[in-house]
């Protein structure tokens, strides 16, 4: 019996050490997606530049960042427009919180969330990524979680994560070059100064140097995506109750500030085996539910984009795809609110 007791003591003690280490070492600059933090700082700054002006804000994840052109929208509709597309892996709370901070009285907000966002409870692909970011830089997300949620979130982390945190702390203490770029990404002033002095060419696609002054991605002409799309247009986008309530609360908050909110679909690939009847059928319930909160500007059947219009993933349109989707948005916004 003593063996069994020691076995469970070993298990419980390890769990306690693991949990206490993560809690005690928070925050720590572990390896995470720091470029998203830099992009966020930069986009917050764009928002500040337009504060007090009536504007159009295009918000969502990377399908907005890559798939809509705020320059075109602004020119066509005669209002300044910001691309506030971030990254689809970010928690919905973070996206809504950051968006709310940018929009102001009388603005027009187009919310084009990726499919996963409508039921994050069931789509857990980004969990580890989000917790890493929360511990590395998205402190508010971590702090907004209840203690139980924080505890539960640790189940998505690797068993070696506390060791990684200790190593990051040692690197920090020793001033190791590994953590220097991470620390720079945590300092808003350094990020903005970096953005103000870009090199001649961006080092890679996922860099703030590759984002223009209105938040749009640049240099995205390629069509290198050859995988199987994660989402199909003929499959219904599930809206979970928890998510729906979150979005509802957000939209009501926006309305109270006299902000016009619109929803928009993410892009879908025009696959040869798509069933047209099922596309419309799958759209019905989604549109019906979302329309109870705010108008939906498009239908799935209208944003079926050929494969060569995708950049490097089934969510990222290239410049050709972006032009198509932006044109549709302008047309629909023009109908919804006659601006120009």
């Amino acid at each position: 019996m003593r063996y069994i007791l020691y076995f469970f003591i070993g298990f419980v003690a390890t769990a306690l050490i693991y949990i206490s280490q993560v809690f005690l070492l928070f925050p720590t600059p572990v390896s995470a997606e720091y470029w998203v933090r830099e992009m966020l700082v930069m986009k917050r700054n764009i928002g500040r530049e337009f504060a007090g002006h009536k504007k159009i804000v295009l918000a969502g994840g990377s399908s907005v960042l890559f798939g809509l052109d705020s320059n075109e929208v602004g020119q066509a509709l005669g209002l300044p427009a910001i691309n506030f597309g971030l990254m689809a892996g970010l928690p919905l709370d973070t996206v809504l919180r950051e968006t709310a901070a940018v929009v102001g009285d009388g603005d027009i907000l187009v919310l084009a969330l990726e499919q996963d966002y409508y039921c994050r409870e069931a789509n857990r692909g980004y969990d580890e990524w989000q917790i890493r970011n929360a511990i590395a830089w998205d402190y508010q997300y971590w702090q907004e979680m209840t203690s139980f949620e924080r505890l539960a979130s640790l189940r998505f982390m690797s068993p070696l994560f506390p060791l990684e945190m200790i190593k990051a702390r040692i690197d920090l203490w020793m001033g190791s070059p590994i953590v220097q770029p991470r620390l720079a990404a945590l300092d808003d002033a350094q990020v903005l100064s970096k953005y103000a002095n870009p090199p001649a060419t961006a080092d890679n696609l996922y860099s703030i140097y590759n984002i223009d002054r209105l938040g749009n991605i640049r240099n995205s002409d390629e069509a290198s995506y050859n995988g199987q799309p994660y989402s199909r247009a003929d499959v219904e986008i599930q809206i979970c109750d928890g998510t729906f309530l979150k979005i509802k609360k957000f939209v009501e908050g926006m309305r109270s500030k006299r902000i016009s909110v619109f929803f928009m679909n993410p892009p879908f690939m025009a696959l040869p085996d798509l069933n047209p009847a099922k596309i419309d059928e799958s759209d019905e319930a989604f549109i019906k539910k979302l329309s109870s909160l705010a108008p939906v500007l498009d239908r799935k059947s209208e944003i079926l984009v050929p494969r060569d219009n995708f950049l490097n993933s089934d969510m990222h349109l290239n410049s050709k795809g972006r032009a198509f989707r932006t044109k549709l948005l302008i047309e629909r916004l023009n109908k919804a609110i006659p601006l120009s």
């Binding site: 063996y3 076995f7 298990f11 003690a13 390890t14 640790l154 068993p159």
Partner: protein, 493 residues
């Protein structure tokens, strides 16, 4: 429901058979057994082989076939075969079982149900009948927990990592991409290790779970990669299946042929008493693994290997070559391993075309890509030889692998060290009886202990072992939540 219906039907047939045996009603016994065999195999055939046979038939006619929506019930092969063995033995008066609850427990005993081992009533019924086994045994729980945790860790931390290396190679060939010599070898070696660790992990988990209930499973896995012949391999790999097909397929066929007159023809004796029984048995064993031509080829290949191995043994005996040097033993082990690896290509591939393409590449006929630094050293006649295409685009030019080349090599080396040099769980637990003894004593022979080098690893119920297992369980539980879901490879059988 299916499992319950099958158990009720077979229990009733067993009772009737028992009565027929007692009353010496041979004709009735024969018909009952035939009925039961047809009913059981019919059920298995419907669920497991309908699409295969219909698909093959349509293909022969040049027609398109849309597979029927038949869901394969979990563990159907295992519960069908355990019950068939029970019925055959009952019809021969070898076994009897009156208690339906004990019979149901035997058929539905969950630790083995999904991926084996194939349990036999002679091993299990006495344990279920033993009242002592219904008491809590701390030592069995301690051992059971430890084995279960180590098995689960083996599956999560080792087997699945090899799958990450093997899968892209097979997927690439399936989708028509060209893979090169080293990529093919890395893919199949990784798959061999994945299957080895996956199957040994499951076997250990089944043993561990059973021990929690004081039940000992038969030994099913005994360091098969250390085999020095194919005969030896099948006495170490899926041992319960080997015993089953030996007792219920090979022996009856061999006995049937042995009763025939062959005159003086040695050739005929070999064909009828060795080649035919072995090939028939292993073709069926191949098909048992799944309804696909690739499984059939896997079984046939092993059947051919076994025939060659038996003939070689007879030849050695005839020549009086008894002594086997260390060099011979190591070479035999390597040859056996390479042969097994080659046959596993059929086991992993989803079609014969994929399997043959990979095997062609493995023997150098699909292209060999070397690091560019080799360009100056490889003589022109090699790269210009007919059938051999040598290029200098690096050893893995396809960019198939997500992890670095160094990590791939380190993982493969680690895996092979474990399978060739490390003791297995039975050796580490040599002080305790963790499996049924009928097969163990023979199988373990002089390999019951881990040897002097690893003697410090022998399990004892100490605090260190308990803490280690507890810590490992935490790591495993945490990893289960983060890793993408993966099933045991033997689930499909």
């Amino acid at each position: 429901m299916l499992l319950l219906a099958s158990a009720i039907f077979n229990y009733c047939v067993a009772q009737w058979l028992e009565r027929a045996v007692a009353n010496q009603q041979d004709q009735r016994k024969k018909y009952l057994l035939i009925l039961a065999v047809f009913a059981n195999l019919g059920l298995l055939g419907y669920f497991k082989y309908t699409n295969f046979f219909l698909g093959s038939f349509y293909q022969l006619q040049g027609l398109n076939f849309s597979p029927l929506a038949i869901v394969l019930p979990l563990g159907i092969s295992f519960f069908t075969f355990t019950q068939l063995a029970f019925l055959v033995d009952t019809s021969q008066g070898i076994t009897t079982e009156r208690s339906f609850s004990r019979y149901l427990l035997f058929v539905t005993f969950f630790p083995h149900l999904i991926a084996g081992p194939l349990i036999h009533h002679k091993q299990m019924m006495p344990q279920f009948a033993d009242a002592g086994n219904y008491r809590i045994s701390p030592i069995n729980i301690s051992i059971g927990l430890t084995i279960f945790v180590f098995g689960l860790a083996k599956k999560i931390f080792i087997a699945d990592n090899f799958g990450e290396i093997a899968d892209p190679v097979f997927s690439a060939v399936q989708s028509g991409e060209n893979v090169q010599f080293f990529e093919a070898w890395v893919g199949i070696l990784a798959y061999t290790l994945q299957l080895y660790f996956d199957f040994s992990a499951y076997s250990e988990m089944a043993i561990g779970l059973s021990l929690l209930f004081n039940i000992r499973m038969p030994l099913n896995f005994n360091s098969p990669c250390k085999s020095q012949s194919i005969i030896d391999f099948w006495q170490r790999w899926h041992m319960t299946l080997t015993k089953y097909i030996g007792d219920y397929i090979y022996n009856p066929i061999a006995m049937y042929f042995m009763r025939r007159e062959f005159g003086r023809s040695k050739f005929k004796v070999i064909i009828y008493t060795l080649v035919l029984p072995t090939l028939i048995t292993f073709v069926l064993a191949g098909l048992w693994h799944g309804a696909n031509w690739t499984y059939l080829m896997f079984g046939t290949t092993h059947g051919v290997y076994l025939v060659i191995n038996h003939l070689w043994r007879q030849y050695k005996k005839h020549k009086g070559w008894v002594h086997e040097s260390i060099f011979y033993q190591r070479a035999a082990c390597l040859l056996t391993y390479v042969s097994v690896v080659f046959a596993f290509v059929f086991f992993r591939s989803n079609s014969m075309a994929t399997a043959l393409e990979i095997q062609k590449t493995m023997i150098g006929l699909g292209g060999i890509s070397l690091p560019s630094t080799f360009a100056d050293f490889v003589p022109a006649f090699v790269s210009q030889s007919p059938g051999v295409s040598v290029s200098f685009n690096g050893i893995f030019p396809g960019g198939l692998f997500k992890i670095s080349h160094l990590d791939i090599f380190l993982l493969l080396i680690f895996g092979h060290i474990v399978v060739w040099a490390m003791p297995n769980i039975h050796q580490l637990l040599c002080r305790y009886s963790i499996v049924t003894q009928d097969m163990t004593a023979k199988a373990m022979k002089n390999r019951a202990t881990p040897g002097r080098l690893f003697s410090y690893l022998v399990w004892k119920p100490t605090a260190i072992w308990a803490f280690s297992a507890g810590i490992l369980l935490f790591a495993v539980v945490l990893s289960l939540a983060t890793l993408k879901p993966s099933v045991f490879l033997y689930y499909q059988f």
